[in-house]
C-alpha cells in the first residue's frame, strides 16, 4: 500500500492482541480500507501498560509485513491505559494564559506529581448559559508519561514513527461519531465496554469525549451483573449531578457479550433512556486514526513546523535566521558534493585516457629535445667564425704587391698585418675592406716604413665589437 498524506494507519494495543485500521482519503471523506488483528503469543500489556514494547513492536511489524504497508507514521491507542480526567472551571482569560492556569489547577486536582504525567485539555462545547460570559469549562486529561513512552517504544520497535498517542475513551467516542454521523450532536451517551480486567465507562457529550473511568469488575454471574449495573448507575448519577441539568439519553454497550442482556434488563429498571448493544471491535482504533480537531494526543513530539507556527514572532525570526544559515551551509555542502562528484568523473575520464596523455607527454619531451638540439646547433653556427671565409675575404681584396703576414681573428674582430710596397697600397687595402661593408668598423692600426717595405696592421671589427666600444 502506498505511503502518502492521503493514507493513515492506527494501532490499538490490547492485552494479547494488536489491532490495525488503515484509512484512505477519497474526496473529503476518510474511508476504512483495512481492518485486521494480530494475536500475540503472550501478554504484551497488563493494566493498560505495555509490558514488552519489543514484542508489541514485533506484532505490529507482522501486520505491516502481512499487508505490505508503506505508511510509516501511525496513531496508537492502548486499551485500558490509566488516566485521570477532571472538569475545570476557569475564569475568562487571554488564550496564552490558559495553559498555565490549567497546570495550576491540575496541580491541585490530580493526586500525582505533574512531572510524571502528560496533561491535555480542551474546552467543553456546552458551557452553562449563565456561566458562559464569566467562566469557561474545560476537560482535563492526564496520563502517565511512562505508559506513553512504552507505547512510543513499541511503535518505534516496529520501525514506525508516532503521529499521535490517543486515549481509548476519546478514540471510541470519535470512532462512534464517525460510524454514526447522523446522530444529533447534542445527544449524550454513556459508553460501556468490558476490557480484559476492567470495565470502561465513558460519557460522550456534544459529539466528543466528556468523561470516562475504568472500574474493576470482580463478581461473576448474578453478582457480576449487579456490580456492573451498580457502577453504571453511579456513573450516570454522578455525571448528571455534575453536568448542570444535562442527562444521558442512551447507554451504549460495546461489543456482543453474554452479560449484556442481564445488565440491560437490570439497568432498564432504573434508567429511563434507551440502551443499545453495538458490535464495534475496531471503534477505538478507528477513532485513533481519524484526523479531528481537538483530539487528545499525548505524543509530546508534535511536528516542529506546528510548534513554530504557534510560537512568538521573535522565535519565528530566529528560526528563520537559523534556517537561512543552515540552508546556506547545506547549499555549500551540496556544491562541495557536486564538485567532488564532477572531479571524480573527470579523474575517471583522465584515467581512461591515460595512454593518450602519456603519448602526448612523450611527444612534448621529444619536441623539447629537438628544440634544444636545434637551438644548440643554431647557437654554435652563430658563434662560429669561418677561417676559410675570412681568408678568402682578405685575399680577394689585396692590392698588387701587398703581402699578408698574420691574420688573427676572434668572433668580434679580425686583425690583419703584413707588408706593402708603399703607403698607397696600404690605403687601397683599407679602402677595399671598408667598402666591402662586411665589417662596420675598419681601422688602420699602424703603417710604417722599414727596409724598403711598409709594414701595416689593420683592425676589422664586427658589429658586436663596435657596439662595445661605443658603450
Amino acid at each position: 500500500m502506498m505511503a502518502s498524506r492521503s493514507w493513515r494507519a492506527g494501532i490499538q494495543i490490547g492485552r494479547q492482541h494488536v489491532k490495525l485500521v488503515v484509512m484512505r482519503k477519497k474526496g473529503k471523506r476518510w474511508n476504512v480500507v483495512l481492518e485486521d488483528t494480530e494475536t500475540a503469543p503472550e501478554a504484551i500489556m497488563k493494566d493498560g501498560k505495555v509490558l514488552q514494547p519489543e514484542l508489541a513492536g514485533l506484532q505490529i511489524r507482522k501486520l505491516w509485513m502481512k499487508h505490505r504497508l508503506k505508511v510509516r507514521h501511525v496513531s496508537v491507542v492502548a486499551e485500558e491505559m490509566p488516566f485521570y480526567v477532571r472538569r475545570l472551571h476557569l475564569p475568562r482569560m487571554p488564550k496564552k494564559e490558559i495553559p498555565k492556569a490549567v497546570e495550576n489547577k491540575a496541580r491541585l486536582e490530580l493526586p500525582v506529581e505533574l512531572r510524571d504525567v502528560a496533561i491535555r485539555f480542551f474546552p467543553v462545547r456546552e458551557a452553562k448559559k449563565e456561566d458562559r460570559e464569566t467562566t469557561q469549562e474545560y476537560v482535563l486529561v492526564a496520563a502517565y508519561k511512562s505508559d506513553i513512552d512504552a507505547l512510543v517504544r513499541a511503535v518505534k520497535a516496529a520501525g514506525l514513527s508516532v503521529q499521535a498517542v490517543g486515549l481509548e475513551p476519546d478514540a471510541i467516542c470519535r470512532g462512534l461519531a464517525y460510524d454514526k454521523p447522523d446522530e444529533p450532536v447534542q445527544h449524550t451517551r454513556l459508553l460501556v465496554k468490558m476490557g480484559a480486567n476492567r470495565m470502561m465507562l465513558a460519557v460522550m457529550s456534544g459529539g466528543q469525549f466528556d468523561y470516562a473511568r475504568y472500574v474493576p469488575i470482580r463478581g461473576e454471574g448474578r453478582d457480576g451483573t449487579e456490580e456492573i449495573a451498580g457502577e453504571i448507575d453511579r456513573t450516570v448519577m454522578g455525571w448528571e449531578a455534575s453536568a448542570g441539568g444535562r442527562t444521558i439519553q442512551t447507554i451504549v454497550f460495546l461489543d456482543e457479550r453474554e452479560e449484556w442482556p442481564a445488565v440491560r434488563e437490570r439497568i432498564g429498571r432504573s434508567f429511563s433512556g434507551e440502551t443499545v448493544v453495538l458490535p464495534a471491535p475496531y471503534t477505538a482504533c478507528l477513532g485513533a486514526v481519524l484526523p479531528a480537531e481537538g483530539r487528545i494526543n499525548f505524543h509530546s513530539d508534535p511536528p516542529p513546523l506546528h510548534k513554530l507556527t504557534r510560537s512568538p514572532l521573535y522565535l519565528k525570526a530566529a528560526a528563520l535566521v537559523m534556517l537561512a544559515a543552515v540552508a546556506a551551509g547545506l547549499y555549500e555542502s551540496g556544491s562541495a558534493y557536486m564538485l567532488r562528484r564532477d572531479i571524480d568523473r573527470l579523474q575517471q575520464q583522465l584515467d581512461r585516457n591515460r595512454e593518450a596523455k602519456e603519448w602526448a607527454d612523450e611527444k612534448l619531451v621529444l619536441m623539447e629535445l629537438v628544440r634544444h638540439l636545434q637551438q644548440a646547433s643554431d647557437e654554435y653556427a652563430d658563434r662560429h667564425v669561418s677561417s676559410a671565409a675570412l681568408y678568402d675575404f682578405v685575399m680577394d681584396r689585396l692590392p698588387p704587391g701587398v703581402i699578408i703576414h698574420d691574420m688573427a681573428f676572434t668572433r668580434d674582430e679580425l686583425t690583419v698585418s703584413g707588408f706593402a710596397p708603399d703607403q698607397h697600397a696600404v690605403t687601397e687595402l683599407l679602402r677595399n675592406f671598408q667598402e666591402a661593408g662586411l665589417f662596420p668598423r675598419v681601422s688602420l692600426v699602424h703603417s710604417s716604413e722599414g727596409d724598403g717595405l711598409y709594414s701595416f696592421a689593420l683592425r676589422l671589427e664586427t658589429g658586436n665589437a663596435a657596439e662595445q666600444d661605443e658603450t
Binding site: 521573535y314 522565535l315 530566529a318 535566521v321 537559523m322 544559515a325 546556506a328 551551509g329 555549500e332 555542502s333 556544491s335 562541495a336 564538485l339 567532488r340 564532477d342 572531479i343 573527470l346 579523474q347 575520464q349 583522465l350 585516457n353 593518450a356 596523455k357 603519448w359 602526448a360 612523450e362 611527444k363 621529444l366 619536441m367 629535445l369 629537438v370 638540439l373 636545434q374 644548440a376 646547433s377 654554435y380 653556427a381 652563430d382 658563434r383 662560429h384 667564425v385 669561418s386 677561417s387 676559410a388 681568408y391 703581402i403 699578408i404 703576414h405 698574420d406 691574420m407 688573427a408 681573428f409 676572434t410 668572433r411 703584413g418
Partner: protein, 169 residues
Amino acid sequence: MRKLSTREKLLIGSLALMVVLYAGLEFWYLPLTDQVQALKAEKAELETEWERVRYYAEEKAAIRQDIARLNTEIAALMERVLPPNQSYRFWEAVLEKTASTQVTATLLSEQDSKEEMSLQFSVKGPGQNVYQFMRELEQIPYIHAVIQGDIRFEEQETEASFTVLIHQL
C-alpha cells in the same frame, strides 16, 4: 531560583543564537566555502586538462606519427652531438682532416666544462694545404664553433692555430 523574565530569556536566546551563528560561520560555513573554492579551482584545472587529453585521445594516431618523426629527427641530430667523455671522436676527425690535406698537427689540448668543451690545436703546412684544412674543418659533423684563430704566413709554410667549442649533452 528566580524565574527569568521574557526579556531576559529573549536576551539570552539572542546571545545564544549569535554564538551559534558565529560558531557555525567560523567553523562550518567559512571552511566549507574555502573548500568549495578549492574544489572549483581543482575542477577547472581538471577540465582544462581533460580538454587537452580529449584532444590527445582524438588525435592519438597523429601523435604516434609525430613521435616516430621526432625520434627520427632526434636520431639525426644526436649524431651531431659529441657524447660526454668522448672527445677522441673530434680529435680523430681533426687528424683525419690533417691527413687528407697533408698538414701537420703540432699541438692538441682540451678543457672540459659543463655543457661544452674547448679545444685548441695548431696545424702547419704549405699555405694552400692549410687553407684546404680550414675548408675541411667546416665539414666536421659535430656541433662546434671556431671562436678564435691565428694564421701566420711564413715563407715556406703557414701555421694556423684554432680554438674550437664543442657542444655536448
